[in-house]
Symmetry: C2
Subunit: 202 residues, 2 copies
């Protein structure tokens, strides 16, 4: 969710609706954490505010997942023995969230315009392959294209590593996924490809 | 380095020898951090002590890199203006290390044998694809094989995601890399493949 705040009822509803187990929730936390670390470092390396902002959005998602795990374990505990069993999961969720908090703080440095050494900035401008954020406009030519097309289009292929759609993150982006208006794509590619796709996204 | 402690002189020597810039060091920190997060979560998800131990080894590597960045920036500062410019880099390195510390703490939970919920353990035993650590013995059949061979060998392909060799980590493992005696492979594959490769590694 892109919203800054969310309602307890809403999270609980979603949790109960999905009936997702702790294992699946942990797997999703894993995927989100890896993407956060990737984007936080990339934000620093390419001095890119947009990527830093996406790290914030992912951190909201992590908070929500931790909350779901907490609610889920509490609801699952029916007696003191079960509660003791479940306590380990709460600890895992707490430590896991620290990874995402640290990634958020790393991205925060970019948003606060900390001064990076001029030599580092110069080196970055020379970088060939970069990670970027592409927002798909309402009348973009990309709408309806598959991710496979974006990944393999002649000369200008970009690897789509994540999509944010209506506040939800898609992290395992399959080739058959179709691009929709309003999608935010996180993608990896050569500078020329990035320019090309920024045009197509408009 | 696999050793628990290391000498300041040794680190400084390595830094000066490599003449590696801050950008390359940050890129290496990025790669190591991503692998640490992957392995820390995998250690939890598969309840695997060996993966947790590798997270510790990677954290040593991160500490070394942070130290190299600190030494490098101090040596580069020749006047107050330059020193102010360089201060941002020190802050980046400090926050970056917090990510790896959190990943280490997550892995630590596995080594401390925290109790995970029985339902989670059961679910894990059903998992098809797992991350594993394979140590290549002196007379293993794998010695001399390329990583490409390991990745594509009929029925039993395993994706090698990292190699630890003589205390150094190889994180971008190319297809042409040859496997040596004593290598520790971090690899991803189906349960059957894991069993097969554990045999070959002996």
């Amino acid at each position: 969710m892109a919203e800054e705040t969310y309602e307890v009822d809403e999270i609980l509803d979603e949790f109960l609706k999905k009936q997702r187990g702790v294992k699946d929730t942990l797997k999703e936390m894993k995927n989100i954490s890896e993407l956060m670390v990737d984007l936080a470092y990339s934000a620093i390396l390419y001095n890119n505010d947009e990527l830093a902002e996406e790290v914030h959005s992912l951190e909201e998602e992590m908070n929500k997942l931790r909350y779901q795990i907490e609610i889920g374990t509490m609801l699952a505990a029916r007696n003191p023995e079960q509660a003791a069993d479940l306590e380990g999961i709460l600890r895992v969720a707490a430590v896991a969230e620290r990874i995402s908090n640290a990634a958020r703080d790393l991205a925060e440095l970019v948003l606060r315009d900390i001064e990076l050494h001029p030599a580092l900035r110069a080196a970055l401008e020379e970088a060939n392959e970069i990670v970027t954020r592409i927002v798909v406009a309402d009348k973009s030519k990309l709408i309806g294209d598959t991710v496979k097309h974006v990944r393999t289009v002649e000369k200008f292929g970009m690897d789509v590593i994540a999509i944010r759609r209506e506040g939800e993150w898609i992290l395992d982006v399959s080739d058959t996924e179709k691009i929709k208006a309003g999608d935010t794509l996180i993608a990896n590619g050569f500078k020329e490809s990035v320019k090309h796709f920024q045009k197509l996204a408009k």
